[in-house]
């Protein structure tokens, strides 16, 4: 082969690589939003669900899809799709996610059990942003319908904050008469990162549950509760940009034990993703008094939900301090 032929073929490869790069660029980031919106409007449920996941991964740049996502999240036509749309919203727009929460909350008291179940799933899909729904979800753990209670337990595990309220509710539900509910509750303790010593005696009892699946899972839950969760691991994840939302949620579950993470959480408060700032505030609120100054600064955040959360956290910490001073 002549050198010219060799260089021509190398050039053709370079053109191919450039074309592939362009195709990838075209399908990622804000550029992909119009195509994903089109997918959301399609009649193919799988395509719609993948579009919702894609929009979630894009984050605030997918603002153009918010209206459609809210409509789908509040629509009762397909519960899985509603949950996928609800799950995408917190990463894109916190106010829209709260709008969905407000839309589903009254349905927790619907006379139709199926509607209540769907409401549980949608609220759970919203994750920690559905924190104001926790009281209603804890109350739903006493619902007459077994599936509603089971989904309430799952939703509480996925919301996770405020950790005391969530775990107190879950601990009570460990004595539920239906094994499916107990299984769902034990699963939250086994895999959702709640390191609550108060739950240990009941979890140990659950290892002798009459249902073998619950008993087996309870062993994992006891091991998880006994394992010391390390703040440094989550701080490292935050610094390296790995699964930041997960790391922040886990720090919020650690409560005061996560005090060493305050400097890192301060840096997260400058993130361009409102959901990360919101989760950082949840973690700071759970840490308590040492983070009060940072929480006060966050009261001027550009996002209304983050501002509101900071203000609530400051009020809550001030009122907790009140009787002592």
């Amino acid at each position: 082969m002549s050198p010219r032929q060799i260089w021509l073929n190398l050039g053709a490869l370079a053109v191919l690589i450039t074309l592939l790069g362009l195709v990838y660029w075209e399908h990622t980031g804000a550029r992909a939003v119009p195509r994903l919106i089109e997918d959301l409007r399609s009649a193919d449920v799988q395509r719609q669900m993948l579009a919702a996941e894609g929009l979630k991964a894009i984050g605030p740049e997918a603002k153009g899809a918010v209206e459609l996502l809210v409509a789908i999240a509040l629509s009762p036509s397909n519960p899985s799709l509603s949950s996928a749309a609800a799950g995408a919203l917190p990463s894109i727009d916190l106010s829209a996610a709260r709008q969905v929460m407000a839309g589903w909350l009254p349905k927790l008291n619907d006379p139709d059990a199926q509607v209540r179940r769907e409401a549980m799933s949608a609220l759970g899909a919203l994750g920690p942003i559905a924190k104001p729904a926790v009281s209603a979800l804890v109350a739903a753990l006493n619902d007459s319908d077994m599936l509603v209670r089971e989904r309430a337990a799952r939703a509480l595990g996925s919301i996770g904050v405020p950790v005391d309220q969530v775990t107190n509710g879950l601990i009570q539900a460990l004595r539920d008469p239906d094994w499916q509910v107990r299984h769902a509750v034990v699963m939250q303790f086994a895999f959702s990162g709640f390191s609550i010593q108060e739950a240990l005696p009941l979890l140990r009892e659950s290892t002798k549950d009459e249902n073998p699946s619950v008993a087996q899972l309870a062993h994992s839950a006891v091991a998880a509760a006994e394992r010391e969760l390390r703040t440094e691991t989550y701080v490292l994840m935050l610094r390296q940009g790995m699964s930041r939302s997960f790391a922040l949620t886990q720090l919020a579950k650690l409560g005061a034990k996560a005090a060493d993470a305050i400097p890192t959480l301060n840096t997260v408060l400058t993130s361009d993703r409102p959901i990360e700032r919101y989760l950082a505030l949840c973690a700071l609120e759970a840490i308590g008094r040492p983070s009060l100054a940072t929480l006060k600064q966050a009261m001027s955040d550009p996002d209304p939900i983050v501002r509101e959360t900071a203000a609530e956290a400051v009020r809550s910490l001030d009122s907790a301090e009140g009787p002592r001073s």
Partner: protein
């Protein structure tokens, strides 16, 4: 005339290896996905292709990135083959060794990649995706080794047959 014909044959062979390697690297993951959907999940060809297209840029299943990651060692092998065969001298014995080495490397890379992708999809596992990350690293070792095996095999075969039956 004979030399010109031989050169053209080598050029065609080199270009086939070069573009074949690149194409193989880019298409193996997609073909494996489609094959598993057809033979494991019982989907029709049309459904399997539709699934592949849906997941091409989907978060968590980004088959486009998987294809690109898989193609990296194949592209490096293709470039090596282009120079190694394209600039080969007229010595026929040397040329056979080079061709055999490159073919061995290509077959080993293709076989390993097909096997890894099929196994990862056929027996899904939470950590399965790690295979896609480690595969190029493993191939970075397998490709030179299989090239050496092919080159050495051709050398030994040639050396052994040139001695003839009297020498044994």
């Amino acid at each position: 005339m004979t030399e010109r014909y031989a050169d053209r044959g080598l050029t065609v062979f080199t270009l086939l290896v070069y573009w074949g390697c690149i194409l193989l690297g880019l298409t193996i993951p997609g073909l494996a996905t489609i094959a598993v959907d057809i033979f494991k999940h019982g989907q029709s060809v049309g459904q399997a292709v539709h699934q592949w297209r849906l997941h091409l840029f989907a978060p968590g299943y980004n088959l486009f990135l998987v294809a690109v990651l898989n193609a990296v060692p194949f592209v490096l092998l293709a470039i090596f083959a282009l120079f190694h065969l394209g600039l080969a001298g007229p010595d026929p014995a040397g040329l056979i060794r080079r061709k055999t080495g490159v073919l061995f490397a290509g077959l080993a890379a293709g076989g390993l990649s097909v096997w890894t992708h099929l196994m990862t999809l056929w027996y899904p596992d939470a950590q399965g995706a790690l295979a896609y990350v480690f595969l190029p690293l493993v191939m970075a070792v397998v490709i030179p080794l299989s090239y050496l095996a092919g080159w050495g095999g051709a050398y030994m075969f040639r050396h052994h047959s040139s001695k003839g039956p009297l020498s044994s």
